[in-house]
């Protein structure tokens, strides 16, 4: 038996064992549940992009290793 035939047989076995969902109808309105969740779980704080963290790290490293650059930085701020 070829690989393709075996694969088809496995697919057929799966279809015979796991039937598709016939009734996917929602039975109730979920809006009250949604409102509860919005009350319980406030929006998470906005994530800071990794690039911002990288810039902070670079600037900090420059200031630590080259303290002479602090006046120049203050001048440009």
């Amino acid at each position: 038996m070829s690989n393709e035939q075996i694969d088809n047989e496995v697919k057929e076995l799966l279809k015979r064992a796991v039937a598709p969902v016939q009734d996917a109808e929602l039975r109730r309105d979920l809006w009250p549940q949604m409102l509860r969740k919005l009350d319980e779980r406030p929006s998470p704080p906005r994530a800071i992009p990794w690039l911002d963290w990288a810039l902070v790290a670079i600037v900090s490293a420059v200031l630590i290793f080259f303290p002479g650059s602090i006046p120049a930085l203050l001048y440009h701020l």
């Binding site: 064992a17 969902v21 929602l26 929006s43």
Partner: protein, 175 residues
């Protein structure tokens, strides 16, 4: 202001309108993936919670339905990753009865167990493509991957199942 613009601006009433318009469709998509009505309800709410929290990322001229389906697929995938193995195929799910009486009982249990042991991303595409017979293009759009990657994952899922079911094939074909 249009409904989607009001939603993106954080208007809760606009969100409620969208929720009521789309909750049935989102639920129907999720229940076909997770195959449990209780989890599907919770995940529908989780999906809309994510939608509301990421509303600023939504472009009001975009396709809300497709965006919601993609977020629903991610929520369902997260569930598949974390769900315990014992939660597979509850008996109360309104599925068609198994057409083949040979596959009732222990054999059916073994096949569905092997299926639910697949890694989540493979189970997702295999459920939608092989069991629910959803079009590859729809699966690709919902999962945020290419159609060819869907085909590859279905192929790999079948190969993984084949290994797991090797002993069962002989048993079933001899019956």
């Amino acid at each position: 202001m249009e409904l989607l613009e009001r939603f993106a601006a954080g208007d809760l009433e606009a969100f409620e309108v969208l929720f009521r318009q789309h909750q049935k469709e989102v639920y129907a998509w999720i229940v076909r993936i997770v195959r449990d009505t209780g989890f599907a309800e919770d995940l529908t709410v989780e999906t809309f919670w994510r939608i509301y929290n990421h509303r600023t990322q939504f472009r009001p001229d975009g396709n809300f339905r497709a965006w919601a389906r993609r977020i629903a697929t991610n929520a369902a995938l997260d569930h598949l990753r974390h769900a315990r193995a014992e939660t597979f195929l509850p008996d109360d799910l309104p599925c068609a009865p198994s057409p083949d009486p040979v596959l009732r009982g222990e054999t059916r249990h073994q096949i569905s167990k092997a299926f639910h042991e697949l890694p989540a991303k493979y189970r997702l595409v295999a459920t939608l493509a092989l069991v629910e017979e959803e079009r590859y293009a729809n699966i690709a759009q919902a999962a945020g991957i290419s159609e060819s990657l869907v085909k590859i994952r279905v192929f790999r899922a079948v190969r993984m199942l084949r290994k797991k079911l090797n002993f069962l094939r002989a048993e079933v074909t001899t019956k």
